[in-house]
């Protein structure tokens, strides 16, 4: 026996899953991206240069600025982070503002810059931001451009990640609960209970989800606050999304019931609750985690679509969906194509979740080659 074999022998199942997952390069990359994204969401106030309320009306629709490291305009090599400022020009007839990069104007940047004060986690008061203009009272910077109303898009994407990234988790957690309970009941008891639940699942799956979501979301009173709306939307999303998970759970239960080791454990005198929770459930938790991971992107996409259509979250709540709502108008889009950037964030996150989910699914059963 060679060394790796020996290590394998005493490895726990979770370790085997991890070893297999590690070999899946895309999944590992996805995991890193997600880790970074959730850190950003956690420290959103710190990472974003501005708060969600910070509006620069006179800079509405300003284009993205390129961060430069070295300034050679003066002939020499002048190191230091900076962006160029704008000169704006208002068309007399159309009142349209056009921006031009002003190569003369340098807005120096710095890390841990002083800015608007905020409370991190509602606890620590500080006014430091990860990056921002060195001079807090000088001209503003827009790394990814400004929205039509003069908000900093970069800051808004960072703040919006809180809603967009968590709604998937909360939604999947809720549908997980419904799915596992119903799927478990269905799979374990079988018989008419199973038949009834199966019919219910088939029914939910045959309905086009978005119209139903829209219908339910439209019924949410318009005067509800952002938090209330957030949770209602989450519940609406999970009311329909639990079916897949329930099917996975049921299928696993059905297969496991036939396994000899389950019979053997029952013959060991193990009672039903312990049989289910201590012996059967651990056999497919890894599968469940994989399925849940794969269900998150659908949730994120659904929230984005709902908000985009104006039926999900509404301003002043900031999510990637509400940010994209501004891009609906083609005229606006033509003038400010960077408004599509929140969409890029959605794609990256959804891709990462898919990669991680695929990796987990492949690794979920470490005993299959």
């Amino acid at each position: 026996m060679t060394q790796p074999h020996l290590a394998r022998h005493s490895a726990s199942p979770w370790r085997l899953v991890w070893w297999r997952f590690r070999r899946h390069r895309l999944a590992m990359a996805g995991a890193v991206v997600l880790a970074v994204a959730y850190l950003v969401a956690l420290f959103a106030e710190f990472v974003a240069p501005y708060s969600t309320e910070h509006q620069q009306v006179d800079h509405g629709g300003a284009p993205p600025q390129t961060v430069k490291v070295v300034d050679t305009s003066s002939g020499g090599w002048d190191w230091g982070l900076y962006v160029n400022g704008y000169t704006d020009h208002v068309d007399e007839e159309t009142l349209e503002i056009t921006y031009e990069v002003d190569h003369e104007q340098r807005i120096p940047l710095r890390f841990f810059a002083e800015g608007e004060p905020y409370k991190l986690f509602g606890l620590f008061e500080t006014d430091r931001h990860l990056i921002g203009p060195a001079d807090p009272d000088g001209p503003p910077v827009f790394f990814l451009g400004a929205t039509v109303n003069g908000y900093d898009l970069f800051s808004r994407i960072v703040h919006g990640s809180r809603v967009s990234l968590t709604i998937g988790l909360v939604g999947v957690a809720a549908s997980f609960l419904i799915g596992v309970v119903l799927g478990g009941i269905s799979g374990y008891f079988g018989g008419w209970v199973d038949t009834a639940i199966q019919r219910l699942i088939e029914f939910f799956m045959s309905i086009p989800t978005l119209p139903l979501w829209l219908g339910l979301a439209a019924a949410v009173p318009t005067d509800w606050g952002p938090m209330q709306r957030y949770f209602t939307i989450t519940v609406i999303l999970s009311v329909i999304a639990w079916t897949d998970l329930a099917r996975v759970v049921r299928g696993r239960f059905m297969a496991l019931r036939e396994e000899d080791f389950v019979t053997a454990t029952a013959l060991d005198g193990v009672g039903r609750p312990r049989l289910i929770f201590a012996h059967m459930l651990p056999s497919f938790t890894s599968h469940l985690i994989a399925s849940a991971t794969l269900a998150i992107p659908a949730m994120i996409l659904a929230e984005t679509a709902l908000s985009f259509l104006g039926l999900g979250l509404r301003a002043p709540a900031v999510s990637w969906g509400t940010l994209l709502e501004e891009a609906q108008n083609f005229a606006t889009l033509e003038a400010a194509p960077w408004l599509l950037l929140p969409g890029a964030a959605v794609v990256v996150i959804v891709l990462s979740f898919n990669f991680v989910g695929d990796g987990l699914r492949d690794a979920a059963d470490p005993y299959k080659s």
């Binding site: 309905i207 139903l212 039926l311 994209l324």
Partner: protein, 330 residues
Amino acid sequence: MGKYVLRRIAYMAPTMFAISVVSFVIIQLPPGDYLTQLASGLRERGEPADQAYLDALSARYGLDEPMPVQYLQWMKGILFHGDFGMSFEWNQPVSALLADTLPFTIALTLGTLLFTWIVAFPIGIYSAVRQYSLGDYVATTVGFIGLAIPNFLLALVLVYLSRMLFGGSFVGVFSSEYAHAPWSVGRFLDLLSHLWIPVIVLGTAGTAGLIRILRANLLDELRRPYVVAGRARGMGERRLLIRYPLRIALNPFVSTIGWVLPMLVSGEVVVGTVLALPTTGPLLLGALRSQDMYLAGSIILIVSVLTVIGTLLSDLVLAWLDPRVRHQYR
């Protein structure tokens, strides 16, 4: 087989019933009742609310009756008179509005389904047969991205790009000069030039999903003993592939109707809105925004029922194609 068809149709009845109930509940969900909204709607537009008219409507839809009775009234109207109720927003019968938009919606959906199949079929096979080839990696990557892009984003990007590259408007189904013109070759070509964006946008996610499923299924089937056995009796690779594993891997194509259809219908709501298509999607959205609930509920009902019928058809085709399914239900 006849028995199987009957049984499948019998299974459908409770689903249909549940859908109608859900649709009705959605109609009833918003606060306030339909008539007060109608009256306020009319008032807003400066039209005097004709009390007699309102009373007639109230009697017609049994709005004073308890909920179950209202539901029965509504269903009776639909089943026996094709009457889905009134749209107060448009001040038209819902059935008339549906007649305008539904055919185009169905045509668009079926066209997209066809597009999905035509694209996914060869790519899926190639991807499985040449596993880990460059083409497979490209297809897999494109598939992943296709699944990750929200379709409204794709619509926005495509419209933005086509405007930048070709100029002109690709929104709506007709250019302005053909919008109200009678049918002609030019008008038809104009329609096609507008349709490619919605078809691609709607079809991308489904195509990507289908490629992944076909690839996985075919890879599974390619490892089965009967493939080795077929090879061992001297079958050529191409013939073997087409006759044996592909026949089974075809099943997901047929069952796509079951899950791609709901997906297309969902996507159509968003894409129709972004691209300003005369489909049920924008109509539904408008109805929901203005709480025009009979219209909204009816659209949800019709679209869901059509999906259920599509699923039924796919199940029947599946049974016709696959002897295992067929013989399971003798």
